[in-house]
Amino acid sequence: MNFDPRFSGRKFTSVGTRPVRPDGVDKVTGRARYGADFNMAGQLVGRVLRSPHAHAIIRKIDTSKAEKLPGVKAVITAKDLPDLTDGDAGMYDILDNCMARTKALYDGHAVAAVAAVDARTARQALKLIEVDYEILPHVTDVDLAMEHRAPLINDAIFTEGLEEKPVKPSNVTKRSQFGHGDVHQGFGHADFIVERSFKTEQTHQGYIEPHACVANVSSDGTADLWVCTQGHFVYRQHCAQLLGMEASKLRVTSSEIGGGFGGKTHVWAEPVALALSRKAGRPVKLVMTRDEVFRASGPTSATSIDVKIGARKDGTITAAQATLRYSAGPYAGSWAEIGAMTAFACYKLDNVETVGYEVLVNRPKTAAYRAPSAPMAAFAVESAVDELAKQIGIDPVDFRIKNAAQEGTRSSYGPVYGPIGIGPTLEAAKNHPHMKAKLGKNQGRGMACGFWFNFGGQTCVDLNIGMDGSVSLAVGTVDVGGSRASLSLVAAEELGIDYSQLKAIVADTSSLGYNDMTDGSRGTFSSSMATISAARNAIKILRERAAQMWDIAVDDVVWEQGHAVAKGDKHGNLGKLSLKEIALQSGKTGGPIAGHSELVADGAGVSFATHICDIEVDPETGSTRVIRYTVVQDAGKAVHPTYVEGQYQGGAAQGIGWALNEEYIYGKDGRLQNAGFLDYRIPVCSDLPMIDTQILEIPNPNHPYGVRGVGETSIVPPLAAIANAVSNAAGVRMTHIPMSPPRILAAIEAERGE
């Protein structure tokens, strides 16, 4: 493949416009099909029995009574999902998480499942399953889990990444370290040092649509799965591996998706539904309740972070250090490692050191949540940066501008940056009218920066030109944030046709080559690259067909604004052939016209944002109100600016919920106390102001149009920006997220000495 992905600096016709989204009408009329909207004749209802204990040995499961209940067609336990993972530890964890094998590791861990003719029968059957548990001591707090006397969650885990291999097992699965220079020397040169500890509680992605799927395993061993997912190809691989199938025998079709935010990158219910269907010999629909979504899916890590930053009087940071502890649930992960990589990524530092610890706890397996691990690290670092600026007596924006990373800076996690947007977002924030707006009584302003890597990965696209000249685009990255609209714009741009001539779909796993999932803000970045490549391949064929129609050499045909044009004086009287004219003749000139592309999209440009917010605090109750919020972020190139703004606003909205109210609350018994949207408080509309956005476009040199991922960075600064605002409004530094009213009131009173 000789596709050149470099930024070309071309002028755009379609890209950058804001047409109506192609999936909009079906969504507002209720016609769009989400995970639970698929149905098959004869389908059964699947339900999962979950452990009520945080940590317990499963001595015995007796399913005989449930099996005898009329209407029950299958009952499964771990025995029905035998271990086929062949030493793949990551896959074994996924298997064990789908169906507990010897131990229940958290409240909500699946231990058995049934398929029955209706929901009532399925519920009754669950009650008839007898599980004999031996309850073990549990630990749900990240700091307590690190203590030597903490209950051990997995005695086969020995901390990786230490100089000497430990002799005793531990809940700390891994230590990771990043940085360069000498922080001790750096702190020696500092005139001011801020050192603080921070905590953040566990949050859930809070997608409105629960996990849902329909599984149909045929008696010939082939299967279909309709599912709400961010990555149907990855689901296919995982399910096929866990059920002992060949990947090509399992066709996975992704539904519309009512939010994922990283939480739908992981299988929970799908292998269970397939195993039920295989045993029952009928299709099985499995839809998680909200309670199950909270107890068993998601969430992100709870964290405990220590930060130390030193600076000279002139505002130059001399050293920065952080120790980050992230909960992983009961299985190993790399969450603290990502936190340790991102913590100081916004800054140009001579001396920096971060150390991350992955910690096992009796909570659900941690899953990705929008720029996973970065918001918590940014909260700790940006809070300390703000405090340090205050101590030095320098404006917090100027302090950040002075220390911002630039092109050529060696990042705190290793690589040297290309052209980046941290400086420009800070300058834009400094000049934004929001920064100069007057504050009222009990109001405070805060700002913070955020970084995210962005990701590219394996991508495959088919572009098919119909005989009537309309174009269908089949992509393999699930549309979670408007990628069908954006990719249609890109294809329209490249082909030189109108957006309305295109229809983009997400193809199933049997209709297209493998695609990595829509994560790491890769959907539009990578699939647009593949779309450009596919369109260029189609244009090559269009030119050949035009040459054939004109009977001239193909090298004399160029593609301009949706038309084949014969170039050179000798072809001066040939006129132009439109895409449609060529398509109409395609049956006679060689058959269908299509462009394909398979590539690994490298060079996803890193992304930076700066957020500003104003918060009012009621000093008598600790209640908060977000008065104003502004997001400034680099998009590289905003393909569909309305969607980009939506991503900026969505990340900020989720960050506001996380910062102020959202948290997993566990009882002393290790059970989740608030597994529902009533007491797990995501913001409602009236909690939020209109979130203002400013798109900056610093082209990514590794994409033909300069595109960078935009989906995740917007959730990185909010925790810190809001904490800085609340701290300024309340007159006391807030170090524990969420800053719920009881925590704020307690902090205010402690400060007053009450």
Partner: protein, 286 residues
């Protein structure tokens, strides 16, 4: 499960009294259906009271208002006379759940659900509202605060149904108000709440008062000492301070996922104070 829709209160009472197993009254269903869906209750009999004559009406009587047991909370807000007389009761009823829920839920259902955090109940208690109860032995009328006896439990006997809530005509120079604390702006359950109803004389001196607290104890509290802190005084700083202190002291809250003991005590005082100021202004006090 059997679902019936009787046309008279006598029939409903007879069916309820004669039922075996678990029976439930259905008005708006905003509590019942949620509990059924969550698997917390599987009733054998559901008695829908919405077709019983008169139960979906608000009547203005010589003494005040009679609000039928099936009147949705949203309708309370459309009744101008009721809104004018008892703004605190109406604003409390219109805080329950969401707009959609308010189109279905009723204040009698809110009362019979017997949650200490019920929004309309502290306001009703402060207003001195009474419940008309129909039962196998005939009708009786009790103070609203006598209905809930513990979280999820009422004093209603087998076969009894509350058919209406009675509110007196508001006395001259009187006002009521209700405030609750929630971390969000709406669609939430009170962490703690306060209802205040007071009457003043021509000089702005409080002559009568009732103060009720929600989510501060196993049932809604009528705090008589708090009323005493106001009666005989203008709403000066000292009276307000005393009110807040008494309310904080009267609480018997718990630590739970929605708030701490300490937080609930403090905020109960803050809300009582703020509600008293609003009620005082509504009574014409300056």
């Amino acid at each position: 499960m059997r679902y019936i829709r009787p046309l008279s209160i006598e029939d409903a009472v007879g069916q309820l009294a004669g039922s075996a197993g678990i029976s439930a009254i259905l008005a708006g269903g905003s509590d019942l259906l949620v509990r059924m869906k969550g698997g917390f209750i599987e009733p054998d009999l559901i008695i829908d009271i919405k077709s019983i004559a008169g139960l979906s009406e608000i009547r203005e009587t010589a003494d005040g208002f009679s609000i039928g047991a099936a009147v949705p909370c949203a309708v309370l807000g459309e009744q101008a006379a009721l809104k004018k007389a008892w703004p605190g009761v109406v604003e409390a009823a219109k805080l329950i759940g969401s707009k959609q829920v308010q189109g279905r839920c009723t204040i009698v259902g809110n009362l019979c659900n017997a949650s200490p955090a019920a929004d309309s109940v502290p306001a009703l208690v402060a207003a001195g509202a009474r419940a008309v109860i129909a039962g196998p032995a005939g009708k009786r009328t009790v103070a609203v605060e006598a209905v809930p006896i513990a979280p999820g439990k009422t004093s209603l006997a087998k076969g009894e149904i509350i058919e209406a809530i009675l509110l007196d005509s508001q006395a001259p120079r009187s006002g009521d108000a209700y405030l609750r604390f929630i971390p969000r702006t709406e669609m939430d359950i009170a962490v703690v709440s306060a209802g205040v109803n007071l009457t003043i004389d021509a000089h702005g001196v409080v002559t009568a008062a009732r103060v009720a607290l929600g989510a501060a104890a196993p049932t809604v509290l009528l705090v008589e000492e708090a009323a005493e802190a106001l009666i005989g005084r203008k709403l000066d700083e000292a009276a307000l301070e005393r009110l807040a202190k008494v309310c904080a002291g009267a609480c018997r809250p718990i630590d739970d996922k929605r708030g701490t003991i300490d937080f609930r005590r403090k905020v109960a005082g803050v809300l009582a104070r703020r509600a008293a100021l609003t009620a005082y202004a509504r009574a014409g006090g300056k």
